[in-house]
């Protein structure tokens, strides 16, 4: 039987935390999301320079998010896949214009919650807030690993691992964007990809 938007989001949060799907805060949180929104291959969920930011929940579909760097270039940041909550962090934290973009390469179904409503919900739900802190703590550990791998893992092996995880990556991202994901120059990336 098809599940409602609220149930889908609550089930994902339950999956992430080990708490029951019927946990009241998960259901209230899921209810706040708007949607579904549908995207076709090549469409952006969000682009850079936008004032209004959202926390997106991806129910179905694959894509990539890219971050604008200080020097004006763009860096591949990661893959978007079903079950992920994604957003522009600068917008979420400081209300700044978005400094990233997310483009899907398959048909996508997603739901969204405005950054303001997200913050209001977190402020008014202490239990949910504690869960969010725990999730963030794990997220931090993943980023530590990503940073150190970026600096020190053998780039050829890292490329093979990334290609296996994100099949077709080279079709959807430029070589420059991929090079910055690995922290190497474009010419080095070209050599690694050969």
């Amino acid at each position: 039987m098809p599940r409602s938007k609220t149930e889908v989001i609550a089930a994902r949060l339950a999956d992430m935390t080990g708490l029951p799907e019927k946990f009241p805060d998960f259901l209230s949180f899921g209810t706040l999301f708007e949607g579904p929104f549908h995207f076709t291959p090549g469409e952006q969920i969000w682009g850079s320079g936008q004032k209004d930011g959202y926390v997106w929940f991806i129910q179905a579909g694959y894509g990539f998010d890219k971050v604008n760097l200080e020097d004006g270039t763009t860096m591949l940041n990661g893959m978007i896949e079903p079950g992920l909550f994604v957003c522009d962090e600068k917008n979420l934290m400081w209300g700044k214009l978005t400094a990233s973009s997310a483009k899907m390469y398959t048909h996508t179904t997603a739901y969204r919650l405005s950054a303001k409503n997200w913050r209001d919900f977190v402020y008014s739900h202490p239990q949910f807030r504690s869960i969010l802190y725990r999730i963030n703590a794990h997220f931090l550990q993943m980023r530590k690993l990503r940073l150190i791998k970026l600096k020190h893992q053998d780039k050829k092996a890292y490329w093979e691992e990334t290609k296996a995880r994100f099949p077709g990556i080279e079709l959807y991202c430029t070589q420059t964007e991929i090079a910055s994901y690995f922290g190497v120059s474009k010419s080095t990336m070209h050599r690694i990809m050969k």
């Binding site: 402020y123 530590k144 970026l150 922290g183």
Partner: protein, 174 residues
């Protein structure tokens, strides 16, 4: 608002002597902590390699979640590279406290910033290595001088020979 009700908050000053190494500091849980003076380097272990990811200096917010004892699988440690003084505000206040809402906001922002800071370091590694390394060495000459060359090269994500060239460039222009 903070200034008007600051006497109702608990502020603490914490001194860490040069040479101290901390692999946990639970006293800073639920605190907003600022570096008043000094330098703390953050190292991680990946297999046999020891890496520096960043250095906290005067004015930086300090996030002890990165050395949280239950989650710390990369042996992340704080190395006090200079005598350091921290200034800390306890954000755990009772519900009726006049600054309760502000403390909740601080705590949430702290949690978000803590994981975002690593995204910031990841983004830095997407920048041109040459330009970034020379700029970093110029801006952090004392830290650069204190680190063994191999560790500095690892931190910047460059080879030893590149480091030699970049150091020369940074020092020449300085």
């Amino acid at each position: 608002m903070l200034a008007n009700a600051s006497e109702e908050l608990v502020f603490e000053k914490i001194s860490l002597p040069q040479g101290a190494i901390k692999s946990k500091l639970p006293d800073l849980n639920n605190h907003i902590t600022l570096v008043l003076k000094g330098v703390i380097g953050v190292s991680h272990r990946l297999e046999t390699l020891l890496n520096w990811s960043h250095f906290y200096t005067t004015g930086d917010l300090l996030f002890n979640l990165e050395i949280h004892e239950e989650l710390n699988r990369m042996e992340t440690k704080w190395h006090v590279l200079e005598d350091t003084v921290l200034y800390s505000i306890n954000t755990n206040v009772p519900d009726e406290h006049p600054l309760k809402k502000l403390m909740v906001a601080f705590k949430l922002q702290r949690s978000l910033l803590c994981s975002y800071q690593y995204q910031h370091y990841i983004n830095n590694h997407g920048l041109d290595r040459h330009e970034y390394s020379v700029k970093w060495i110029r801006e952090h000459s004392k830290i650069a001088a204190a680190l063994p060359r191999q560790e500095l090269a690892n931190f910047l994500g460059i080879s030893n020979s590149s480091l030699k060239t970049f150091l020369k460039e940074a020092l020449t222009d300085a």
